[in-house]
């Protein structure tokens, strides 16, 4: 996110979205496009088996939170952002805040299958957690927003969610006297505008990081921190079940878009890349930290328990052209499934309470 190339990539995605409809069948088209040759099979030398220690080293927690150069951390910004995040006056009804759907009480989600928006109407997808958003490369289940700053303003304006026009919101906040000095302190010379509103909320969100879990203690050498079931589950996760092909690294995601064969009509990422077969029904791979607080699971909230999630991956879901090539029946034993669940539970910390801020009047 701090890389300068990031915004460029965002523009590119927009460009792809507008031109992708002509992408179908490119391998056969010569005129006005690059020419794709025949594919060849190549022998890939595999690395010597790296062993458990090398594998564990890939899961070490980072020491610092990355903040983008365009919006560096300050305590004033984070404090203002926290008040805004919990302030229901950001919605047109003054009844919903960011925290309504991304609540610390439910692992920074809402505990529902799908979110509930303006007028108590159900939304189409599960409210994603904001935990570890600081490490995200792209936002929303379908990846339609490139930065957390833009993401923060998205649901506020969305007619189905908080339904609040930004001009109207800035007028409303300007009428709350205590906000003005807070904006001035956080953004000297810039003050209150929708840009700084988004920057403050994003800065606060980046401070929401999963806490140390038993898994982290094990990674750092405490053999007693997790059970032998969980340790076996870690090996299944990285081996036979291939979960780590997508849920990789300390935050358990590489942010990739995959169709995992859930029987839903929602095309997800495919809306923005209509000519790319593998993007149909594809959704962003979520991280797995604090997972036990985050049920129900999946982009549509269709699976209630971790056991059901493992069963879904075991039978590989709906076989269709868009389904990821990584999805195939796993033939896991009952023991392997139980071990996987035991392992996943070690990713949840003893999450401390979050103090709700006193809001400006």
């Amino acid at each position: 996110m701090s890389k300068p190339g990031f915004y460029h990539a965002a523009l590119l995605v927009a460009a792809i979205a507008s031109t992708a409809s002509c992408l179908v069948g490119f391998s056969t088209i010569g005129f006005g496009a690059a020419v794709v040759g025949e594919s060849r099979k190549v022998e890939i030398p595999q690395n010597a088996r790296s062993g458990l220690d090398a594998l564990k080293a890939q899961y070490r927690r980072p020491v610092t939170i990355p903040f983008p150069r365009e919006n560096p951390y300050t305590p004033e910004k984070a404090a203002l952002g926290k008040k805004l995040y919990f302030d229901t006056r950001l919605s047109v009804t003054s009844a919903q805040s960011c925290a309504s759907c991304h609540s610390p009480g439910f692992g920074w989600g809402d505990g529902l299958a799908v979110g509930v928006g303006h007028g108590m109407v159900n939304l189409g997808r599960h409210s994603p957690t904001i935990i570890n958003a600081a490490w995200s490369a792209i936002f929303m289940w379908d990846g339609r927003l490139p930065t957390l700053e833009e993401q923060a303003l998205g649901p506020i304006q969305s007619p189905g969610e908080m339904n609040m026009k930004l001009d109207q919101l800035m007028e409303r906040l300007a009428a709350i006297p205590e906000y003005k000095p807070m904006f001035e302190a956080a953004f000297p010379g810039e003050g209150m505008k929708s840009k700084t509103l988004g920057q403050a909320i994003a800065t606060y969100e980046r401070t929401v990081v999963s806490e140390r879990a038993p898994f982290d203690a094990w990674i750092e050498g405490d053999e007693k921190a997790i059970s032998s079931e969980a340790k076996r589950g870690f090996e299944v996760f990285n081996g036979k079940a291939q979960c780590a092909a997508c849920h990789e690294g300390w935050n358990f995601t590489n942010e990739g878009f995959q169709d995992i064969g859930l029987p839903s009509k929602d095309v997800g990422r495919g809306e923005f890349l209509p000519g790319v077969i593998k993007m149909q029904h594809a959704f962003k791979t979520p991280g797995l930290r604090e997972i036990t607080h985050r049920s129900p699971f999946m982009h549509d909230g269709s699976l209630a328990t971790l056991e059901q999630v493992i069963d879904h991956y075991d039978h590989a879901g709906v076989d269709r052209p868009s389904r990821s090539d990584l999805m195939r029946p796993l033939e896991l034993s009952a023991q392997e499934k139980a071990d996987l669940v035991a392992f996943l539970k070690t990713l949840t910390s003893e999450l401390g309470p979050t103090a709700v801020p006193v809001l400006p009047r």
Partner: protein, 106 residues
């Protein structure tokens, strides 16, 4: 004369084989492209080699050089020949951190 023509043909053929052997290869191991930028002459090919452990979907929507390799399984190599000069932004549709620029020169 005929011998000369044949000889020339052999040389041409040899040159093109030489050019083929020198084709730039972009690796994808560890879900990163092996180069961030690459310059190639218009009409020459770049080889996209999936030497990673997972499938990738390499593509570009840059005007005049659009292509989409679809799901490229590990152990697969595909050549892409760029026909228009200019900057070609190459991405993996699956992995948003994978992006590179191919600069196609006249």
């Amino acid at each position: 004369m005929r011998t000369l023509a044949l000889f020339t043909g052999v040389i041409m053929c040899g040159l093109s084989v030489g050019a083929y052997a020198a084709t730039e290869v972009i690796h994808q191991r560890g879900r990163v492209f092996s180069s961030e930028t690459l310059s190639v002459k218009k009409g020459s090919a770049v080889t996209f080699l999936n030497d990673d452990t997972v499938p990738h979907n390499i593509m570009s929507a840059s005007k005049g050089n659009e292509f989409n390799l679809g799901s490229q399984t590990p152990g697969t190599s595909t050549d892409v020949t760029f026909k228009e000069s200019g900057d070609v932004q190459v991405i993996c549709a699956i992995h948003p951190r994978m992006k590179m620029m191919v600069k196609v020169t006249e």
